[in-house]
Amino acid sequence: MAEFFDMGGYAAYIWPAYGIAAGVIACLFIWSWRGLKKAEQAEAALGKRPRRRSARVERA
């Protein structure tokens, strides 16, 4: 197992590379997910006192 993590002595390059790839993709997912939640919350707050016109827009 230790041998696997050592990567033939190149662990210092290989694991950061995989880490960066995973990190950037994870950040994109988290950032987008947060943006979606935030927008949906704002939408819900605005829709609480629905008037006819806004209700129609909201359904779409």
């Binding site: 990567m7 002595g9 390059y13 590379a17 950037v24 979606l36």
Partner: protein, 243 residues
């Protein structure tokens, strides 16, 4: 109202295909990682560092794929004035930029042990840096306008100008590289790739594509939700009610 009919259908469609993309992406990703990190043979010259290829090369593919899809979305948005296409372009840009950053960072980490330096002014690296700046410019232009319609038009035109320029930039950088670069640093040969290496590479390629598409669908939902919030705010202020 027909403008809003489209997003509704898109949201239904996106919810329907998301599980299918996920069902392809996750096994490909796991198999690609296992084959890439454990099963695949080491390169006789690059030793274990060749394993960086499996996260690096597909990222470069996605960087290019991202910009071409951005340009196609821009063309559709400009010609047919399709609002969803504009949003698709806006949604694709940060994802493409993210994959470009992955390609640059992993390439640098691959370069240090194989070339002995973090960075060489290699033609490919240089064009990828330029590509990153094209993404950043596109995103900056989107954010520079008050009205989303104008931002969409301007950003689409920029994306099309960029895609026309990309081959010229690539050509000039290749030419510049052969002029200035001592040939010895170019990547150690490009022999026909071992099938045992090709398999994880392709699996990771499919997985990256799946991740790209999942992110694209998610970001388009974000953009649509933000658009709806804006429409609601507008409707409220028009009704003379404090929002």
């Amino acid at each position: 109202m027909h403008r809003f009919a489209n997003p509704a259908r898109f949201l239904r469609l996106s919810r329907a295909i998301q599980p299918w993309i996920l069902a392809v992406t996750v096994p490909c990703l796991l198999a690609g990682l296992y084959l890439g990190l454990v099963e695949s043979p080491i390169d006789y010259q690059q030793k274990d560092t060749v394993r960086i290829m499996y996260v690096h090369v597909p990222a470069a593919w996605m960087a290019m794929f991202g910009y071409s899809s951005l340009a196609i979305a821009s063309a559709i948005g400009l010609i047919w004035k399709h609002p969803l296409a504009d949003l698709a372009g806006k949604a694709a840009a940060p994802i493409g930029a993210g994959f470009t950053i992955i390609a640059l960072a992993t390439g640098s980490l691959w370069g240090k042990p194989t070339w002995g330096t973090w960075w060489v002014w290699d033609a490919r690296l240089t064009s990828v840096v330029v590509l990153l700046f094209l993404y950043l410019g596109y995103m900056a232009l989107w954010n520079a306008f008050e009205q989303p319609q104008r931002a969409a038009r301007a950003a689409s035109i920029l994306a099309l100008v960029g895609i026309v320029n990309l081959p010229i930039i690539k050509f000039s950088v290749d030419w510049w590289n052969t002029l200035h670069q001592p040939a010895s640093i170019s990547r150690i040969g490009t022999p026909a790739i071992d099938p045992a290496m090709l398999r994880p590479l392709l699996l990771m390629g499919v997985a990256y594509l799946g991740l790209f598409l999942l992110l694209l669908l998610l970001r388009m939902r974000v953009e649509l939700a933000e658009r709806r919030v804006m429409a609601l705010q507008l409707a409220r202020s028009r009704d003379g009610e404090p929002s």
